[in-house]
């Protein structure tokens, strides 16, 4: 994992300031959705080896939720953006 993360609000910060939630490509389904849709959201993960978009929170900084795009094998970080600013709801 890269040691330094460029937070869009705080600048370059050590990665230990951040807390990792997980896969950012998941979209919370409608409450009335089928059990299968909910199961996919709660339990099923694509778990790619390569590019991956993840929700991180800058808990020791701006406390914003961010989307970090990185590689799960090389640990290279490609981009960091604010979770609310960028339309991250891409299809899975």
């Amino acid at each position: 994992m890269a040691s330094l993360i460029p937070c869009p609000h705080c600048g370059i910060r050590p990665k230990e300031e951040f807390s990792i939630r997980g896969d950012a490509s998941l979209v919370r389904p409608d409450p009335e959705s089928s059990d299968e849709t909910w199961n996919d959201y709660v339990h099923i993960r694509a778990n790619p080896r390569g590019r991956y978009r993840e929700h991180w929170q800058h808990v020791a900084g701006c406390r914003r939720w961010l989307v970090v795009e990185r590689d799960t094998f090389t640990h290279e970080v490609f981009s960091v953006s604010d979770g609310a600013v960028r339309p991250w709801e891409t299809s899975r």
């Binding site: 994992m1 990792i20 997980g22 993960r45 799960t72």
Partner: protein, 416 residues
Amino acid sequence: MRYSAFSIVKNALSGNVNWKPAWRQPEPKPFYDVIIVGGGGHGLATAYYLAKEFGVRNIAVLEKGYLGSGNVGRNTTIVRSNYMLPGNEPFYEFSMKLWEGLEQDLNYNAMLSQRGIINLFHNDGQRDAYIRRGNAMWMEGVPAELLDRAALRKMLPYLNFDHARFPIIGGLLQKRGGTARHDAVAWGFGRAADKHGVDLIQNCEVTGIRRENGVVTGVETSRGFIGCGKLGLAAAGNTSRVGQMAGLKLPIESHVLQAFVTEGLKPAINHVITYGAGHFYISQSDKGGLVFGAEIDGYNSYAQRGNLATVEHVMEEGVTMIPGLSRARVLRSWGGVMDMSMDGSPIISRTPIDNLYLNAGWCYGGFKATPASGWCFAHLIAKNETHPVARFLRLDRFERGYPIDEHGAGPQPNLH
């Protein structure tokens, strides 16, 4: 060749030039009744029990690297059956019993050492939780002992009992727990499986799973297409990648776990000890090195290497528990890729594809399960029926709402 004291003497007298390789290096055949993907502990154990206990012939194990190059050679070698939940404990106890007879069964010295595992606790609530766990073990017929502070002081005088924040007030002991030499477990299962006619095919990476009319007909590999009647996946940290080849949707994330060993020291730590105020565990190898580790790094990773922040955290935990550790020098550290499931418990299961079977989700507890995992997976593949002690470890338990969540952490893999 059968190993014995006599064979050692005989070969020593003849200059040790007559030892035979422990297994063959066969070329892949065009078709096998059963193919196991993954030549680690679980895959090799599965092949061995398939051949020996369930009478299946014509088996191959495909390994992309060399035998035992994954997590079976990257763990902290701990063997135990001190789980709490009814979905887990009978399974791990079955494994413990297999460990106890394993070396005779395999004719291989796995250096099983039942030195006892002690889980420390630091406050009243934690003591209650460990009493509950001990009682749950007794209900499955597994002996557990509660140790008070005085007993612990006698057994483990080097612990930091009076730490201001995390004083040690007792521990839960499973005497039959301990360690086994991890590489020897892989080699022993591999050699025994080979003896039963299993083809162990190394440097053979599976690149695709061919399906016709909804069933698996074989696998594409780096050494060509190999047909099969049944396919078993035991690919540990790469389960998602292999599963994707068959279109499986899996409740798994891959995470990295680090482990460490110090330089060799004189015998100092006679048990396996786990810290209750963190997730630190330590034992001493027969060679003298202190072997220890803690939690996963906490981010998805397919790299077999970890982060320095976690290294620092592990060292801090160790020194908090045993101040004398600060004088030991770390020799090596390494990382392994864990298939973390959504509830922290494993999966031995059928899949939506009739002749495809899955062995996965071992999180960072797969080593102790090696014999039982192999046995139960072999049972499932041979009979198409779940083994009784593994009946809760189904893939569909998540969608049905029956997770086996020992930590109570919810569907968040980096918290298990």
